[in-house]
Structures are given as structure tokens and as C-alpha cells.
Homo-oligomer: 341 residues x 2
């Protein structure tokens, strides 16, 4: 190749590179959050991402520190009127009773086996804990994962008649992707079971198991019947990943303070506080369930009692106001709720 040929080719490359760069800019300017209505919530997200990822911006956050944490139930997918994981536990009771027939005569298993929904709705916290222990512990980690996979493939939400994993909020899926496209590492920080959520987090949210922090029990290392090493799930609580347990779990599992945190209930208060208390730019947002038609309305914004699942209390709303946490109105801020809408 002669020098002039080389220069010619090199200029060609530059032209193409410039072309790609232009296409890249155009792409960046395309709406990253098409399911969001224009408004304060959407603006806050877009402005925050731009400010924290633009080199030289006073709010710039180095890539290694771009940690974003998301509550799951009520923030990323439907939690009302009953958590998907509670449905899993109730659905597992017949198999547990089949393996241990003596349980059929013992409460709360007797009530669950009766199928009496009204009686089940009245079960105490203690009853639920017994069901949780019987259905989430005592088996190997691999057996548990296989059971959850099977259930997820079959179970359907009674209102939408769809698998639970399709009941994720499209606008939040867009936020997850938008943050990741901008170098943020996205984590789920859930009061739900860590082992449960890890089964579907990658396929459902693009969040790998190692980026799921949740309520976690201990495991016991031992050897199976085949002599192979196995971990057995024990009824021993290591981390109650709710309320104050959320920042504690974040420290245990991530070891960095988040820059971005999304929640929807009083259980997320400490995570949002902890996030906002860090130096530099921080974003804290809360999903308000005020859309009785397209999803549900609960918490103080609706007529439902605040003790319902996913309580967005007035105290939380007040704290959001004082501390600059942005409230997302499902009714006003979200153009679409689900991908299938």
C-alpha cells in the first residue's frame, strides 16, 4: 500500500467513524423511556443519568460506583393482593403434606389443604412463617430451584391470567435497561426470598443472581445420597432484607452505598435514606400505586387501609417531600403498565 492509499483509507475510516458517532448521538437522543409520560418523574431520571455519566459534569459518578438498587414487589412487578412468593408457598403445601402426611391434621396446613380462601386470609403471621419454613427449607438448593422453575412455568395471576413473570412494569424495565446502558449495575434489593427471586431475575429483569439481595436463610454444606456435595436450605434467618435490613443487606452483599434507589413502600424507607445520605448526586424514587383501573390503588392515596401489602404510608410521603425523594404516579406518569397492554 502506498502512503497516499493509506491516507485515503484512513480518511475513509474517519468518515465512517464520524458517521457512526453521529448515529450514536441520534440513538442517544431517541427516547430511552417511551412508556413514560413527560413530567417531573421522567425528567428526574433522564437528567440524573445524563448528569452522572457526562465526564466533567459536577455530578459525574465514576463507572465503578454506579450502583442502582430496586425493590421488587410493587416496584418492579405486581405485589397486590398477595405476593407471588406467598402463592408459591401455598401452592407447595399439598406436596409437603404428601411427603409428610401427619401435617394434614395440623394447622395451618389443615386450613390451606381445605382450600377455604376466607380462612386462609385470616391466617396469622405465625401460621405463614410455619408454611414458609415447610415450603422454603429442608431441601437442597438445586431441588428448590427446580421446583420454583416448574411453578413459574405453570402458575398464573388470577386477574390477568398470565405468568407472574409477565406482570413486570414496562416503565421500570425501561429504567433498568436505560441505567445499564449508561454503566449502572442494577440490583434487586427485596424483602422476598433471595433464592426465590434469583431463579428468574436474569430472564425476567436482565439482573443476574449475584445481583439479587433478598431475605436469606442459612444453608448447610453436606453430601447427598450420591456422595456429591450439596447445600441444604435451613430454617435459620441470616438476613431479613426489609426496612433497616435493606441497607444492612446492601452492605453485606454489595459493600457500596447505592447512587440510585427505587422503592414503593415503608419497607424501602431506610434504603432510600441510606442512598440519599451519600455524598454527591443521588436519586431516590417511590412508585405510588394510584391506578385502580390499570393496576391497583392502595396506600393513603386510595381508600384501602395502609396496612395492606406494600403500604405507602403518609409518613413515607412526608419524608419523601422533606428529603427530595420523587414520587412516581402510576396513573399519571406511566403511559403503559405492562408490555402486553
Amino acid at each position: 500500500m502506498t502512503i497516499s492509499q493509506f491516507v485515503h483509507r484512513f480518511t475513509g475510516v474517519l468518515t465512517l467513524v464520524a458517521g457512526f458517532a453521529f448515529a450514536g448521538m441520534a440513538l442517544a437522543q431517541a427516547d430511552p423511556l417511551p412508556s413514560w409520560n413527560d413530567g417531573a418523574a421522567k425528567n428526574a431520571i433522564v437528567e440524573f443519568v445524563q448528569a452522572t455519566t457526562t465526564q466533567g459534569s459536577p455530578k459525574f459518578v465514576p463507572p465503578a460506583e454506579r450502583i442502582a438498587t430496586f425493590d421488587q414487589d410493587g416496584t418492579l412487578w405486581v405485589e397486590h393482593p398477595i405476593y407471588a412468593q406467598v402463592m408459591y408457598c401455598l401452592d407447595r403445601v399439598p406436596a409437603v403434606v404428601k411427603a409428610k402426611p401427619e401435617l394434614a391434621k395440623v394447622e395451618p396446613f389443615k386450613t390451606v389443604m381445605s382450600g377455604n380462601r376466607e380462612a386462609m386470609a385470616k391466617m396469622s403471621q405465625g401460621d405463614l412463617l410455619k408454611i414458609v419454613a415447610a415450603t422454603l427449607t429442608g431441601m437442597s438448593v438445586d431441588e428448590f430451584t427446580a421446583e420454583v422453575k416448574k411453578w413459574l412455568a405453570e402458575a398464573k395471576d388470577p386477574r390477568w391470567k398470565k405468568p407472574y413473570t409477565e406482570l413486570t412494569y414496562l416503565p421500570m424495565q425501561e429504567v433498568l435497561k436505560y441505567l445499564r446502558a449508561n454503566g449502572y449495575k442494577t440490583y434487586i434489593v427485596t424483602g422476598g426470598g433471595q433464592d426465590f427471586v434469583r431463579v428468574y431475575s436474569e430472564a425476567t429483569y436482565g439482573i443476574p443472581p449475584e445481583q439479587v439481595v433478598g431475605t436469606a436463610g442459612g444453608t448447610q454444606y453436606g453430601y447427598g445420597k450420591d456422595g456429591k456435595p450439596a447445600l441444604t436450605k435451613e430454617p435459620r434467618l441470616l438476613l431479613n432484607d426489609d426496612k433497616a435490613g435493606k441497607p444492612e443487606g446492601i452492605h453485606l452483599m454489595i459493600g457500596r452505598r447505592p447512587v440510585v434507589a427505587f422503592g414503593n413502600s415503608d419497607g424501602d424507607r431506610q434504603m432510600l435514606e441510606y442512598t440519599k445520605a451519600g455524598d454527591g448526586a443521588r436519586l431516590a424514587m417511590l412508585v405510588l400505586h394510584d391506578d385502580a383501573k390499570r393496576e391497583y390503588a392502595y396506600g393513603p392515596a386510595s381508600g384501602l387501609p395502609v396496612t395492606k401489602v406494600g403500604a405507602f404510608t403518609q409518613a413515607l410521603r412526608d419524608q419523601a417531600q422533606t428529603q427530595g425523594w420523587i414520587v412516581i404516579s402510576m396513573r399519571n406518569d406511566w403511559k403503559k403498565i405492562f408490555a402486553f397492554d
Copy 2:
């Protein structure tokens, strides 16, 4: 631009792309492990990485599943004759006694304050635990991090007169980089304190805090004097990340079975077993300290008693033989031990 100009430029791009690709291949063929002598250990690593990352290979491992776990003390850096973290705890005792003068008259603090090395060497496990609790808990996570940073900047290993973070093994640093360059996510899985190792893991090994699994205590969320949220380190053990605790910790913190595991002592046995028991290609390796001249010789390969720190017992050697774990001889397999050699 005419069509012919475009074609010309396009060809130019292709030529350049081909050129870069060729340079890339040349780079890939350069020795990724220059501090290793040719031999079975080095071959095993290179062959494993090639087989698990070549699309279409029967041993191919999808990128998301490429998890590699490394013990730290004695595997990534010097542990002999005393763990760096134990030195930290002993060095912190004067500050603890200054803050609580009543401790000066109480054992084991009295012995540590006396500076009598012989008496200190005779301290029981219970004494050490008291020192650990007094120096690693009771302060906020941020205060602890600041103290460790300060200590690391000043403390020196007595033999090499260098900061502890320079006493990492160059051949292992090359393995970490080589694995990462091939899509592996590298984790430290240490019996040492998770919060301690996280302070320097990124700068020292290129491993971010969220990829450090270690012995971990609980924290308590609360509010500091300034009213800001803070996490206080509590003397409450959540995870004893040694022996069976290693696979348990891996499950808790990562949620995937590793494909690659490196250790050096009986404390790593279960991690290697667990790794090898997975389906498909797996690599398990053990560093043997048999180089009394350039580093240390201990375990059954040397004259030192196996009860010494980092015991590589005969039972471990036997199990390595049976289960196909590859033993790395520091003396024979490593051309250089440290970057400063």
C-alpha cells in the same frame, strides 16, 4: 461520495479491521502467564481457559456462568507467619485501650500492650477473638474503612519491609487478569474479614468490593450524631467463610456454583469439592508453599508442623490426587513470586 469512492473506503475499513483482528490474534497468542514456568500447572490453566471460552468446544461455558473464586491468604498473597488482618487487629489495640483505658489492665489487652512477642504468640483462640471483637466491631462502617486505609498505607511486612498489598503473588495476578480478559468474573472467597478485604481489593487485585465474599458480621442501621444514617459493625457473626462456610458463602453472596476455584489450605477443601462437583468443565487448583527461599515452606511439604497457618495437610494432598485438583508448586511453577522480585 460516489459509489466507487464508498467501495474504496469500505475496502479500506475492511483491510484495517483485518489488520486489527490479526494484531488481536497475535496478542492472544502472546504468553498470558509470563511469570509461570512451562509445566502441568500452567498448561492446565491455559488449556482450561481456551476450552471453556471457544464457541463450539464441548467444554464451552456461557459468559454469564464464568465464575472464578480465589481464596486470599496464602493463595493471592503472603499469609505466613501471621495474617495481615491479625497484624491490623494487634496494631489497633493501643487506640482501643486509649479510648477505653480500663482495658489496659485486662487480658488479653494487657499482654498486647506489653509488646512481649513471646507472650502474644501464646495467646489462645479466645484471646484473639476478644481482640478481634474490640478492633473490628463497635464503629461505623465508614470509620472502619478509614482506619484500614490508614493502616495499609503505613504498615509494613517485617521480612520484605513493604506494604502488605505489595506482597501479592505476581503469577496469581496474571491468572486473575487472564481469566477476566476471557470473560470470567473473579471473586475473592476468604476466611478473612469481608469488610477488611473490600477496602483494598479493587486497587490490589482489580476485584471490586461486591466481588469479595468473606467472614462477615452483622451491621446495625441507625443514625449518627449528625442525624445521618450509618451502619455500625456488630460483634454478631453472620458468615464464617472458612471450610464448609465457603460454599455456603458462595451460595449466599453469588448464588452460582464456581467454574474455577483456587485455594491453598484445608480451609479451601469444600470450595474446591463444590466447584468440581458441578456439571461440565471445572478447574480446581491448590498453591503449595514449598519455596523456603523465595517465600516460605509450610505444610507437609516442609519441616514445619501442619498446624501452622494455611495447613496443606496430607489428607488434602490425597484428595487433590483423587479428585483431579492440580497442585501448584511455588518453587517449580513460578518464575517470579512478587512483582518487585
